[in-house]
Symmetry: C2
Subunit: 130 residues, 2 copies
């Protein structure tokens, strides 16, 4: 059994991957990885997800330059979730131009946006999200 077989893939052959800034500890995003994308990520030393909407490999940062360099990849006790500790190039993980995708906080029955846009998303992309 290889390390890839130890991962408990969903029926769709995916596993959730949490990306965390290795220096600050900030949780940046969660996306999904396929067997191929996980293997490629470790081979290339950068986060390569599986885009469920586009049904294609998603080389994080390919359009935006906001590449996530892998520092460490961890597997949880149930072997069904990954934790990527990354160096976030450009300091922005979210397609909205924020550091983290988790920029809304629950308060008084609402999700309130609390984190600033670092860079306008129009300036990040010429084309599609990445």
């Amino acid at each position: 059994m290889t390390w890839l077989d130890e991962v408990k893939w969903t029926a769709e052959g995916l596993v959730p991957a949490i990306a965390q800034d290795h220096a600050t500890g900030q949780v940046l995003m969660m996306a999904w990885m396929s067997r191929e994308s996980l293997a490629l990520s470790l081979e290339e030393g950068r986060a390569i997800y599986w885009s469920r909407s586009r049904k294609a490999l998603w080389r994080k940062g390919e359009e935006s330059g906001h590449v996530q360099k892998l520092v460490e990849v961890r597997l949880d006790c149930d072997a069904d979730v990954l934790l990527l500790r990354v160096e976030q190039l450009g300091g922005i993980a979210c397609h909205t131009g924020r550091q983290s995708c988790f920029y809304r906080v629950y308060a008084d029955g609402q999700w309130k946006t609390v984190d600033p846009v670092i860079k306008d998303s129009q300036d990040i992309y010429n084309g599609q999200r990445s």
Copy 2:
């Protein structure tokens, strides 16, 4: 539309929830929440997950005492992942007796256990995992 409707639930009516220690930034675990469990979590100020294996509410810490007190609940840009910033009572989130469920690191084609057991799981539970 209420704040609960803004969450994009899976076909099974669930959403992944990442628990992070609010003081240290350590990512502790990922589990799933139902609409009911999220509402109850916010009402009671503690993490209450949905156990997919038991198909029941999972009041984290009910058996172990390792309750996760909610400090903040965040929603991501796609509204399909939650981030719980918590105070981890007992300093142990994992049923194996470790601080975090992510205690295995990829290295040289293997998942290597790198984090110590803080408390023997036999001493944590008399019965089932929680």
